[in-house]
């Protein structure tokens, strides 16, 4: 596919594409997808698989590329040095943050060569910030990852998954030092960041810090994320600022989330299966995102390659082409016309899938949950970085707190 050494030179940059009104399709979240495949540990959620199992990371990049992604994010989520040594994590000591970031860049660049995709280096929120470290200290953490991104010459940068706009703006300012375009997404809902800064104001601060693209990622379902981006858009308009919009929601239905999103749901992270969105939910999401003026449309945790393909299929009329992976998918289910059973062939059409209200198969389960959420934020002792593993005594304290809550509130 890739014509070789010359190709990177001819690729249009992220801002060229967006400025020209092109739709840019993002990829999906790696930590959830690779956790299911056996390469990421839930809890720390760190990306050492880039070093330990590069073929697994490479394969997932390829699947997203094939599904239609125009951006491959380096698998550097939570790859800051402080996170890699938090609560018993061995990665900083045994591998080193630099090696993880370098390996992630190499893999993303290798796969990007196979198609028309850009590579984006990504940073995300840090334990240092939650532990009340200074702006200078937090920026130093970001700068270590940025050094790798500069050395590896990624196409642009993303500051993603921030719960506090203060830290997000620090990240954007640091990334801007590179001179490359910067996108910034926060994992917030319509209620705003953990300090109560509303989405419109968050967007304004991010653009003022230097971001060319702003939006949300993670923590909420597509519907909620679009509401939040809409509020960001309105905030920017009111402030007479210009920026491209971006959304990378969860692939889980979360109408019952509180301010902090799906982390608080009792099902997080090991029983979210009944909430997984269908490809048809994603068709709806892609159309609504487009109608809202968002042009960088991707996903986050829970997205599998077929979800990204659904974005590309929904927007194929606007883009003029289908992704490679559609060779294995009839739009709106028309591949079912090849099914043996006649009543399954009868499902080979848009009207059927668009209107279906799928059952959970779980009659003993409710449809909504009451979120946890203990109301703690930056600086709270229970959020502080801690090198040692959580001790049994610490866990027992938490178990008690949990029990108390459920017996009083359930």
């Amino acid at each position: 596919m890739s014509p070789g050494a010359g190709s990177p030179i001819t690729k249009k940059g992220i801002l060229e594409r967006l400025d020209a009104g092109e739709i840019v399709i993002g990829d999906g979240g790696f930590v959830f997808a690779l956790e299911k495949r056996g390469f990421v540990k839930a809890g720390p959620w760190t990306p050492e698989a880039a070093v330990e199992h590069p073929e697994a990371v490479r394969q997932l990049h390829r699947e997203f590329l094939r599904a239609g992604s125009n951006v491959l994010q380096t698998f550097t989520f939570y790859a800051s040095d402080d996170k890699l040594e938090n609560r018993g994590n061995y990665v900083a000591a045994k591998i080193s943050g630099q090696k993880v970031n370098e390996a992630a860049c190499d893999i993303a660049k290798e796969v990007a060569e196979e198609g028309d995709a850009l590579v984006a280096g990504g940073v995300s929120q840090t334990p240092s910030y939650l532990s009340r470290k200074s702006e200078a200290e937090v920026k130093t953490i970001f700068r270590k990852q940025l050094d790798v991104f500069k050395k590896k010459n990624v196409d642009f940068l993303i500051a993603e998954y921030f719960e506090h706009v203060e830290e997000a703006a620090w990240a954007v300012e640091t990334l801007k030092e590179s001179g490359k375009p910067v996108a910034a997404t926060m994992c917030i809902g319509p209620e705003g960041d953990m300090h109560g800064v509303l989405p419109g104001e968050c967007a304004v601060r991010l653009v003022k810090a230097g971001a060319s693209i702003v939006g949300v990622n993670c923590h909420f379902d597509p519907d909620t994320c679009l509401k939040t981006v809409k509020l960001m858009k309105e905030g920017l308009q009111a402030a007479k600022l210009k920026a491209h919009l971006m959304s990378q929601p969860l692939a889980f239905h979360t109408p019952d989330c509180g301010k902090q999103g799906f982390i608080d749901l009792p099902e997080f992270p090991f029983a979210l299966e009944p909430r997984i969105v269908t490809r048809w939910d994603i068709h709806k999401y892609a159309r609504e995102a487009y109608n809202l003026g968002i042009r960088y449309i991707g996903g986050c945790c829970g997205f599998e390659p077929y979800h990204i393909r659904a974005i590309a299929e929904e927007l194929a009329p606007e883009r003029g082409f289908l992704p490679q992976a559609s060779e294995k998918h009839g739009s709106w289910g028309n591949g079912l016309s090849m099914h043996t059973k006649p009543w399954v062939r009868a499902r080979a059409r848009k009207e059927y899938w668009e209107n279906l209200l799928p059952a959970s198969g779980r009659p003993y389960c409710p449809s909504l949950s009451k979120p946890d959420g203990w109301g703690v934020t930056k600086g709270d002792v229970e959020l502080m970085q801690q090198k040692e593993a959580t001790s049994d005594d610490q866990l027992k304290e938490l178990f008690k707190k949990q029990t108390f809550k459920s017996s009083s509130a359930c």
Copy 2:
């Protein structure tokens, strides 16, 4: 991992393992997993990816191996020549069934060398049978795949996914010609096969046809599959026959299925997400399968590597070891003790996950569906093999039939 050329010689065969009382962990279904990744087309569900995208097939085999699978099934589901040219499928003409079967064997064998896994060559039900072809004709179809399995010297053979015991017995008889051990699974529930033969009787016929291992795969959820295998076990006991038991259920909750299983559910195959089982559901399944005396325990459609890992983790006390992939998973969620948020750390324990009733996040959806199922079986004109693609007129007829049904019954 693999010590090289000598290792295949030292691997214990499937019957040696089972006869010794060992637990054998199967793998999960490939067509659903690879459909989500973009390499298999829903509708035909044929395995040409073995030729077209070998790296994707290889990666999935590796993930299951790493998760604990002791058997790697060749990706030859629906790879019979008649299926590869059904209803517009191009595979027979452009690639050939032989090449698909050979490539699938090569990949499975390559990965099996990397661990302690056996390779099983698999055949499944054929359009020829549904189209009323003769026993000799149907056996000829199976024999073409068997020729490849013999040439590639797989470790044993599986006849799987049969709705009619008559055809399953023909498959077993054909596979037995090779002299290798044969396992046989039917995709039936407690009501028995499509002709009304009960599970106990099905098991008896399969053993008499030559199967050393019998059980069920696909079409129903773990609970239902275990009920069916229990009936098979009782049938064998009543007939004083001996065989090992095997179960490879769906990873979807299907309490509302009719006789033909999840094919009939309105959500099949593109809106099954809310029905996906959690890893904790699989813990329960693995324990109950073990308690029922089943020793070949695996999965089918919907199983991802983390589901197989859950079988291996549940049965680790009996087996004495954890699978490789558990380096990225704390048993019963204890990796969450490394999570930043204290209320998530509080979920790092068995009691929490074992008792959780997860919400669907879909308050406008019901918990159960009424299955379709038009009551057709072998020989019905609508099930006949047809080389040409389903025509628009044929589809319109089916759409009408569907509409009529829903307006009268909904």
Copy 3:
């Protein structure tokens, strides 16, 4: 309405009606309806309101009569002397069973005169039987109620709400001593009575004991009750016995019940609201009961007058007339054509209500429950009659047992 003194003489008896193929509409259960109105205590469920609040009992009889009931059952449920002094109940001592039974007869007869309804004297299961009293002792208990029914000259007798066919047959034999027609219903489901006697066999024993009408009442929803009556019908046919069939189900959806019915559901008796059936559910029930050959069609706990009216409206084509209360109800909701809001007027038709799947408005609640049921029956110490109120210590023991169950099984 009633033409006066002459009318009782001209009323056709219950067997005359049924033998002539007429549909006989029963009434609904009194204890649940009067509990909601404030005249019956949940727990003992005894009918002392016949003495204490006769106007309330009279009004409910009138409402059922007006809704279409052809039978008014005396409000003598659980009015046996042993029940009226069980576990701290004051009725036996302060009022006397005889007075309760007499008052109940007087009220029913008074209201029956106002229309074309028969009065049926009813007995039900006794604590004496559960406490292993002898056949003679139990029959003596029934005979005391029967003496009143004979003295008040009710039209026929019903032995209802029996969990054990042995006791039901004793009741029938006792009631037959009067020479009046006897109907007998058991509160069992398709699994049969608490001793495992199947419905077909129960029906046979009841007919052999002297019942002219047999069926089921209470404990299960309409669907389940009809399944049970069908089994009774088949049992009678196999035994070449003849009897009229009768059904008086709950007005609660109970698809999740175990063998002992709704008593075991965690919602019994104070949180059954979400399970209450609609009038349209009753239309379906009445039609299916009719199609099954049942001609005595009524209800039990949960039935309100509008549910009985729904039976009468559904079967109006067969009967040739509507009940009085239909002056306040347009069939299939057509009274809504008088509603102010146009979108409510649009609901004035059968198609709308017949196909509606009503929401619970409770997104945090499941759709099914797991029944309790501690597997105890006749003779178990915890079921024994006890004159004193349940002591706090006894309750604490039970609370512990309950807690243990929910923490281990929930």
Copy 4:
């Protein structure tokens, strides 16, 4: 009970009670309760039963009184002359509005004598207002009912069930002409009235019009109603106005309602059963209403006497006594200590019922619905008063509109 002629003189008035900080318990809605009993027609919802079936109205008053109601509202809902002749209603022509209003007063007064209850004369919204009649014309309609209330000398007056504050204020002004205390409730939610006037502003206008007590009734569930009253309270505080607060919510769960409340739910009015609140829901409601400072606490459609009793039982510690009907109800279910089955006795406690999440028994139904609501209000042609019955052609037009909606939106 009643000591005779002298007693009315000694009863404390509504404002005396509220000014003294007493809790005043209202009654429940009559039209829904009597529809189930067979005396009110759904659609017109008019109260001619006061003339046609006085014993039924009397009995329901008594049940509410016995359950703890301190106010008996005259059964004069929708008894304005224009409503009694709307869309084919015969009441105006055959009975006359005056007779209905008089009979309703007589019955309420008769029952009020039996206990410590006040009689409140009630008016509600009119078709005249929706048909754009003038203020003078609408007030004339109210004045005709008021004339009866004055003649019958009721204790105070209630203007209830108004969707537009403009009309409600007209009603209050008219009722104030009598010199008696006036309470005013609107059937609105937190979004305000049909013209977009917010709850706080509605409360202010009602107090300025002369109401001494303001609040909400009908259309929404307890939770939503309390939110609305809270907004009213805040509006009054901001305006430095004083008034007593009042709430009379539905006994149906309606979290999915739109602005116009339960009228728009597809289940209205004939399939609301799964939404009926339990007595424990009402305990919670009564406590929260009390904590919010509401002292006139009652119910509306769906409330049965046992729901009112639950208010009285919850607030018994504050009031110092239980209602009469509690002789037939152990607080928090402790009457179950008299139940035969031990596992039901184990439910005789607060902890059990308070934490239970009751199942619907309807696994094929969703938990929430999408409301209709065609966005019409005062002056829209489809809301206009019309003496003739809705014609078949008019209905067909509406059916089409409904069908169009459901096929495009479902």
